[in-house]
Every structure is written in C-alpha cells, then in structure tokens.
C-alpha cells in the first residue's frame, strides 16, 4: 500500500492556484480593486496633465512641450504603480491562508498530497496573477506617456518591472503574515504595518540621519520600494537623460538625484537598485519559508 509513489507532479500548486484565481476574480474584491485602480490611475494622470499644462501657480509658465508633459506623466505613472501594488497586493495576499483558515477550508488541503510549500506556491501564483493584472490595467497610461514623448519604453519598462517585483515581494511577505494569523483582517493590518515601517521608516530614518558633512545618509532610501523603482527607471537613462525642462520637478529625476547626490555622472551600471533587488529576493525567500512553516502549523481543534 505504501510502496507506490504519490502522484505529486499532477498536484503541485495547481488546484490551489486555480481555486484562488477563480475565487478572487469572481468575488467582489477583485473587480472592485481593479476598478478603483483604474480610477486612481486616471485621476493621477489627469492631475499631472492639468498641473503641467495649467497656470495655477504663480511664477510658472504652463508647459507646452509634449515631451515634458509625457515625461511627467510617465514618471508619476511609475511611482503610482509602485505605490498601487504596495497598497493593493496585501488586500488579496493577506486573505489567502488566513482566509482559508478563517473559513475552515485549509484543513482538507493539508491532508491532501499537496506539500505545504505547494499550498503556499499556489497562493503565490494567485497573487502573481493579480500583480500582472494590475500592471496590465495600468499599461494604457504608460502608452499615453510614451506617445507624448520624453520617456522611453526602457524607462517605463524598468519602472513597471520594478513595480511587479515589488508586488511579488509584498505578496510573499503578506503570505507569511497570513500563514501566522487566524484572521484576514489581522493579516492585512500586520502586512500594512510592516510595509509602512519599510516605506515610512526609511523616509524617517533618512530625515533623521546626519552625516559628518551635515547631509542625510541617502543610502537609507534604498529600503524604500518607491525610491528603488525610481532608481531602476532612471538608471536606463544614466540619471542624466531627462530633458532639461522636465528635470526640475519630474519625481523620478528628483528621487534619483537624491540617491545619487554628489554623483551626477552615475551611469546605468552605477545604479543602486540591484543591491536592493538582491535584498528583496532574500526577504521574499525568507517570507516563503515562514509561510511554509505557518501552513504546517495548522492544528486540529
């Protein structure tokens, strides 16, 4: 009876991913999140457009150069996408394991041929699909920016790629938290707290840090996913490829200058984001291990 090898290859992760995708996309949460995401992106684009072309500020001439407008829209789009995945991915990921535990639907999977890591992997596939959906929904805005000019596909692609990777890391962290909590709401709150510490904490540390020359330690900002996304996008143009007119207040150009202060000649190979990417990969791996242990922790009443 016990001599036959279980047919694991058939089972790895697929049932969980298939159920996760169907459950998320057929429910209310998935479509609502996508609609909200579209509305927010549209609103940001409209606001940037009005700001760039309007005369709402004194001592400032409205821009008429489409390239400058396109660059501003593109860069705000990259930042919005990164912030968007930071906010929206936990909504889906935090409920994956904690939600199944809360609704008493986890135990049957634990007594199947699926390993705990297959269960976590299945949920990760669900989250990855959601991240890609968010990226796909955001793509038309990027096309608009590219069409206006001032920002190239490499810069947009690097920004989007960084956002997607950020989304995956956030999903891993949220799954780890989800596997350790009993309630979805607790998992969501704890994930937001962790991300808040990462994003807000790095900004606070940056502001509080003080070097001997009186300037803050800018490397602290590399723990911030938004800054890392900006750095990755800017690295494609060597941190100096921005049109002169846009360089004054386009957000990524500003953040990139902040990270590479004192090194204005930094080129693509001097970018700091690969270090952060390696650290994020380690964090994601650690989070997945925690999630695996958390799923194993499933106990009977």
């Amino acid at each position: 009876m016990s001599s036959a090898k279980p047919e694991r290859s058939r089972a790895v992760g697929r049932p969980i991913a298939s159920i996760g995708l169907r459950t998320r996309m057929r429910g209310v949460v998935g479509p609502v999140v996508v609609v909200v995401w579209l509305v927010v992106l549209g609103a940001i684009t409209a606001a940037v457009w009005l700001h760039e072309t309007g005369t709402d500020q004194p001592f400032r001439q409205p821009r008429t150069d489409p390239a400058a407008i396109g660059r501003a829209i593109g860069q705000w789009w990259i930042i919005a996408t990164t912030v968007g995945v930071l906010v929206l991915v936990p909504v889906v990921a935090a409920g994956c394991i904690a939600g199944a535990r809360e609704h008493h639907s986890l135990a049957p999977w634990r007594v199947s041929l699926l390993r705990p890591r297959s269960i976590v992997g299945g949920h990760l596939i669900t989250c990855a699909a959601f991240v890609l959906l968010l990226a796909a929904v955001a793509t038309p805005i990027a096309a608009l920016a590219w069409g206006l000019g001032g920002i190239g596909p490499a810069e947009l692609g690097a920004g989007l790629g960084c956002s997607v990777l950020t989304g995956l890391v956030v999903a891993c962290v949220a799954l780890a938290v989800s596997s350790l909590t009993r309630r979805t709401a607790t998992a969501l709150l704890c994930t937001y707290l962790l991300l808040g510490l990462l994003v807000g904490g790095s900004a606070v540390l940056h502001a509080a840090s003080d070097r001997s020359d009186g300037r803050p330690v800018d490397a602290v900002l590399l723990a911030n996913p938004v800054v890392v996304g900006a750095d990755a996008a800017a690295s494609t143009t060597g941190h100096r490829g921005a049109p002169r007119a846009a360089a004054a207040d386009a957000p990524i150009d500003h953040l990139s200058r902040l990270v590479h202060r004192g090194n204005h000649a930094a080129g693509p190979f001097d970018a700091a984001w690969p270090t952060t990417l390696a650290a994020a990969a380690l964090l994601a791996l650690l989070a997945l291990l925690v999630a695996d242990l958390g799923v194993r922790r499933q106990r009977a009443r």
């Binding site: 016990s2 058939r10 057929r26 008493h104 639907s105 007594v111 199947s112 041929l113």
Partner: protein, 319 residues
C-alpha cells in the same frame, strides 16, 4: 493491503552477531485494524487533549466516536488524518504509521474536518475537481467522478451551483463527497451531521451505509449518542482524552448504566417522555398506561443522550 512480511533472511546470521546463531524469522501479520492507537498523547498548547488513549477501530464497520466537546474526538481523527502529530504514543492507520509516511495514509484516508468550509465563488464541479487534483486522481477521471459523487450525495445536476449559494446541509454533503474523491479505504468524518436537518441526516447515513457495503471503514464522531447508536456497529465513548467504554451501542449504554427514556405517543398526537430505572420499571409503566385506558399508539425506548449516562468524572488535573 500488503501480505504477511517475513523479516530476517534464513541462513544469514543477524547483523552484528559474532557466531552463527539459529535462524530467526519474525512474521509480521498485517494490521487488521483501521486505526490502532496505544498510549496516544496529543497536546494543544499546554492542554492535553488525548491522554494516553488506547483504541482499536476494526475494519469494514461504521465506528462511532461519542463524547462531549473537548473530549478528544476531533483530535483523534485529525491525528489519524495526519493533520495533528501526536506528542507521544503509537498510532497506526491502516497499518501505516502516519508520522513516518503521511502521504501513504492520505492516499487511503478521506477526512472531513469540523467545522468544514468551502471556498466562496466556486462551482461544485470546480471544487471537486481541485480536490481530485490535489489527491492525485488522473484528470481523465474527474468528469465521471464529479457526476458519481454528486449523485451519491443527492446533488445530481448541480455541478454549476456556486458554493456560497448552498445551504449549510448541502455544503456538509459536498464536504463528504470531497472526502471520497480518491476512493479512500478509511473515511473519517468529524461531526458530519452538524447543521443537517432530518432529511439530510438520513441521506448522509444512507450514504455511509452504502460505503460499508463496498467494504470501506467509516469513523464518525458526534456529540449525539442516539445518532451513533442507530447508525454504527461499534461506538467508543471518549472523555478527557481517554476511552471510557467501547463496544456495540446497546450493551455499551447498558454498561454505562444510563436511565431509560421512554417515549409514549398518544392517539391525539401528544408525546410524553418518561424516565425509568430498568426493564421492570419500564414494564410497570406500560401496564399503568394501559390500565389507565390511555390511547397509546407508540411506546418506545429512546437511546439516551450523553448527559443521560452516568459517565465517570474525569480525574482532577487530568487536563
């Protein structure tokens, strides 16, 4: 199951022996029990839920686990289903040690936990197919399997119904169907009739007896002794993580000395319940009712609930 295994090779000395000794052969007979536990201890935090529990569940019968909440029924089933690793003691499920080879156990055991939940926004056939995939059932068998299982639990033709639109009873029945996707030898059902109405209960017990007809072993836990007494060939009474008594339901109840409850239904539809001490008192009650010219249409003994039995008090500090 595997046949007898002969350990040791004739003609060869045991490993480590310095001089040739007599040929030693040990015949390991296959374990004829579905579940065998010996000195089983399982803890939840600091609470000891199973306290050196000894139990043997024979094969091919419907076995009931009765007990109050917290008596250890669910923990025993979870341990047998490989969901809970015991702290101490020996456990064998269909002759396999779940701690050593949990996957082998899972391939032959179907488990319905309590409480049981279904993911929302999912069609019934999608859920059953996913469970089949997770239990290694080949894909070409899924369609027929879903058809058979839904027929079996009385939900034929409801493939496309979403899980959140099912009644609690129907959800429970889907849960039972899902435990059968890989045609398990041993079916462990933790309080399967919880939340079911009379009709669904009857449907479920009918299904369980059909499983017995094809040689499966069914272990059912419940807080309601009459239900187990009516449906199971053997019942074990658990309290504080120990087996208080085990055997056929009728003698078991007699052994535990519960008072007899008699239901008398009158011609006008009224139902009276009487409690009597023994058979003599029961006969006396019947005589009294007949002599009083009561229009009796039914005079039946009702199996006692757990609270009616004189269960021994758990030892202080046992939990």
């Amino acid at each position: 199951m595997t046949g007898p295994v002969i350990a040791g090779r004739p003609g060869q000395p045991p490993r480590g022996a310095t001089t040739p000794g007599p040929v030693t052969a040990r015949i390991l007979l296959p374990d004829q029990s579905a579940i065998r536990a010996s000195g089983l201890v399982a803890r939840r935090g600091r609470t000891t839920v199973l306290d050196e529990l000894d139990i043997t569940v024979p094969r091919s019968i419907c076995f009931g686990l009765a007990g109050r909440p917290g008596s250890g029924k669910s923990m025993l089933l979870a341990a047998a289903a490989t969901l809970q690793r015991p702290s101490l003691g020996e456990l064998s499920v269909l002759g396999i040690d779940p701690a050593r080879d949990p996957l082998a156990v899972r391939r032959h055991v179907g488990y319905l936990p309590a409480p049981f939940g279904l993911p929302a926004n999912l069609r019934l056939d999608e859920y059953l197919c996913a469970r089949a995939a997770a239990l290694g059932v080949p894909r070409d068998r899924w369609e027929a399997l879903v058809e058979t299982l839904l027929n079996l639990v009385g939900l034929a033709g409801r493939h496309a119904v979403r899980t959140e639109r099912l009644s609690p009873g129907a959800r429970q029945l889907v849960g039972v169907a899902a435990t059968l996707v890989h045609d398990p030898t041993l079916v462990l059902l933790d309080e399967p009739t919880r939340g079911l109405d009379e009709r669904d209960r009857a449907k479920l017990w009918n299904l369980l007896h059909r499983l017995l007809d094809v040689g499966r072993t069914v272990v059912v836990s419940s807080r309601h002794l009459p239900e187990l007494a009516a449906g199971c060939q053997e019942v074990a009474m658990l309290d504080s993580g120990k087996v208080l008594a085990q055997g056929a339901p009728g003698p078991l109840v007699a052994q535990l000395g519960g008072a007899r409850r008699i239901r008398a239904r009158l011609a006008n539809g009224a139902v009276r319940t009487h409690t009597v001490a023994d058979a003599a008192a029961q006969a006396a009650l019947l005589r009294k009712l007949v002599l009083a010219d009561v229009d009796l249409v039914e005079f039946a003994e009702v199996p006692p609930e757990l609270d009616d039995l004189s269960l021994p008090e758990p030892e202080p500090g046992a939990r």
